[in-house]
């Protein structure tokens, strides 16, 4: 099979782009509840998320790639989470951290949205109440793997 110069070159560049992208998944600074404290712990010395290139927590959704829904999403907070997700630029990823964000957890009541996936699409769910920081690091690893192995991201793929 004959490979045109452009084709060959672009395919390689996409790999490089994916590698770069997967090494700089910047999370959004959005703490909701208990899990937010564990989310802070991963930036601290013992866990050090900087090893994965994700220590740059951005306060503005425009600059963030990853939304970590860290904790229970109250009915009042739901629209805000949705709006923040919409404000993030493509490609973007979502980690649902902990039982409450994933399914409502132990709060099966009037106040809590039963799973944040009812309002935004979720890529990785982390179990636990709250999950250990290791769990969150693993979730970021899974997002990185997804990007490297041809999921959303790269310069050829559409978001």
């Amino acid at each position: 099979m004959e490979i045109g110069p452009g084709q060959f070159f672009l395919a390689q560049l996409d790999d490089v782009a994916r590698w770069a992208q997967s090494s700089s998944v910047w999370p959004l600074t959005m703490g909701l509840a208990c899990c937010a404290i564990e989310m802070m712990s991963v930036t601290a010395p013992e866990y050090d998320i900087a090893r994965l290139g994700s220590e740059v927590f951005r306060a503005s959704p425009r600059q963030a790639d990853l939304m970590i829904v860290s904790g229970r999403v109250a009915q009042k907070m739901g629209p805000i989470v949705k709006r923040l997700y919409d404000q993030m630029a493509d490609p973007k990823w979502v980690i649902s951290m902990g039982a409450c964000a994933s399914s409502g957890g132990i709060f099966d009541n009037y106040a809590i949205i039963q799973g944040v996936d009812t309002i935004i699409p979720v890529d990785v769910y982390v179990p636990g109440c709250p999950p250990t920081p290791d769990g969150l690091l693993h979730a970021v690893n899974l997002i990185q793997k997804q990007i490297r192995e041809g999921g959303r991201g790269g310069i050829l793929a559409r978001a």
């Binding site: 208990c34 010395p45 013992e46 009915q75 709060f107």
Partner: protein
């Protein structure tokens, strides 16, 4: 994709209607997603240039319905949801709730001494861990990033000790009605000793980084000053009250869990500003460690739960050997315990101030009502009073120095 129940809700925050817009002032919404609001606080600000004319905190973005959920759970199960209120100090919540229910059951005097001492150790360690998170995040808000790493390193050390005892880093549910979930594991005293040995060095470092730092002092001294009269009128408790010169500490005023047996000081300052609150909390961490040391030295072997099978399930070893113990265990787990009718208020000194539970029982196996007095909610009220006339940058200092936790404010 289904948008669910949220689609019908107004997207505009309700707080925007709180302030009337006139010609000059600009209305700015700060939060609920803002890195320095320490959670999901929204503050509607009326600003002129950089200075705040009016600040209206808008809460409820983390309303979890914990009090209502507790009414649908057994007395013992309710503790799991209650522990998730003040998530910086989970053990304080469970301790206060357990004390309240024990008061209703009339077993306050029958809690074994060892259980009380371990409860004190756990509660004081959680206070230090909570203050670590407070100082780390407060530092980040003001641009002092390095303090965060020191604080979280110390917090990890404390959490390791807590995890060894309770089995979980954050919500161990270790303190139970009638005693504790389990005795301390082997080697725990050594773990505590290692922490006690490391602590003074860490504390010196924390003080060295910030206490005499001129930038830190410039940012915090005379910012957010609360006078003693205001502090009392607004119902402030904890470090926020003691920084204004009023030495009210529930551990001294209404001792519980044997706090009257320990020697410790109640640190106070008279300035009432953000710096005073900062120093009071640092002093408090040292006093907490003093209490932990005393409790650790006083600890003797003994039972860790009340010897009453109607309240606490019998130990596992007994269940394997005794039919009666098995029946009691089955009854306590499947039916829950029954608490005589009545109502009770129990307060403890949580890292943020007076945490109280008003618990009502109708004699059933579930609480009739669990009402919380969250210290953060009352402390947060001060913000409306102290914010006007200050810069927006100082508002960040004020929020940080009041140390609100929104799990507790919104419940």
């Amino acid at each position: 994709m289904s948008v669910g129940t949220v689609s019908s809700m107004p997207l505009e925050p309700q707080g925007s209607q709180v302030l009337a817009q006139d010609g000059n002032a600009m209305v700015l919404s700060m939060g609920p997603q803002h890195p320095s609001t320490h959670g999901v606080l929204q503050i509607m600000l009326e600003i002129e240039g950089e200075s705040v004319v009016k600040a209206e905190p808008e809460i409820g973005y983390l309303h979890t319905g914990i009090e209502k959920s507790a009414e649908n759970l057994f007395w013992t199960q309710a503790q799991t949801v209650i522990e998730r209120m003040d998530y910086l100090a989970p053990e304080s919540n469970s301790l206060c709730y357990a004390l309240a229910v024990e008061k209703l059951l009339g077993i306050t005097d029958r809690i074994p001494e060892r259980a009380q001492q371990i409860r004190v150790i756990v509660a004081e360690l959680t206070r230090i861990a909570s203050h670590c998170v407070w100082l780390g995040t407060h530092g980040i808000d003001l641009g002092a990033l390095s303090i965060f790493f020191y604080c979280f390193d110390l917090r990890e050390n404390i959490l390791d000790v807590q995890e060894a005892a309770g089995g979980a880093r954050m919500h161990p549910n270790y303190v139970r009605i009638g005693g504790l979930q389990a005795d301390l594991p082997d080697g725990h005293v050594e773990r505590l000793d290692a922490l006690l040995k490391k602590f003074p060095t860490r504390m010196r470092e924390l003080r060295a980084i910030l206490q005499k730092n001129p930038i830190w002092q410039d940012r915090t001294i005379d910012v957010g000053t609360v006078t003693p009269e205001q502090a009392v009128a607004w119902g402030l408790t904890g470090p926020a009250l003691r920084a204004s010169g009023i030495a009210y500490d529930v551990r001294k005023a209404f001792p519980y869990s044997g706090y009257e047996n320990y020697k410790f000081d109640v640190p106070t300052r008279t300035e009432g500003d953000a710096y005073a609150r900062f120093v009071v909390r640092l002093d408090e961490m040292e006093q907490s460690m003093r209490i932990v040391q005393q409790a650790r030295d006083a600890m003797k072997a003994g039972p860790i739960t009340i010897d009453d099978a109607k309240i606490a399930p019998p130990p596992k070893e007994a269940i394997a050997l005794s039919m009666e113990a098995l029946i009691h265990h089955f009854k306590v787990v499947s039916e829950g315990i029954r608490v005589p009718p009545g109502d009770v208020y129990q307060a403890i000194e949580s890292p943020r101030g007076e945490l109280g539970y008003y618990v009502v029982s109708d004699g059933n196996n579930k609480p009739f009502r669990v009402r919380t007095r969250p210290p953060s909610l009352y402390n947060l009220q001060a913000l409306k009073g102290i914010a006007p006339g200050n810069l927006i940058a100082d508002l960040v200092v004020m929020i940080g120095s009041l140390d609100p936790v929104f799990g507790e404010v919104d419940r």
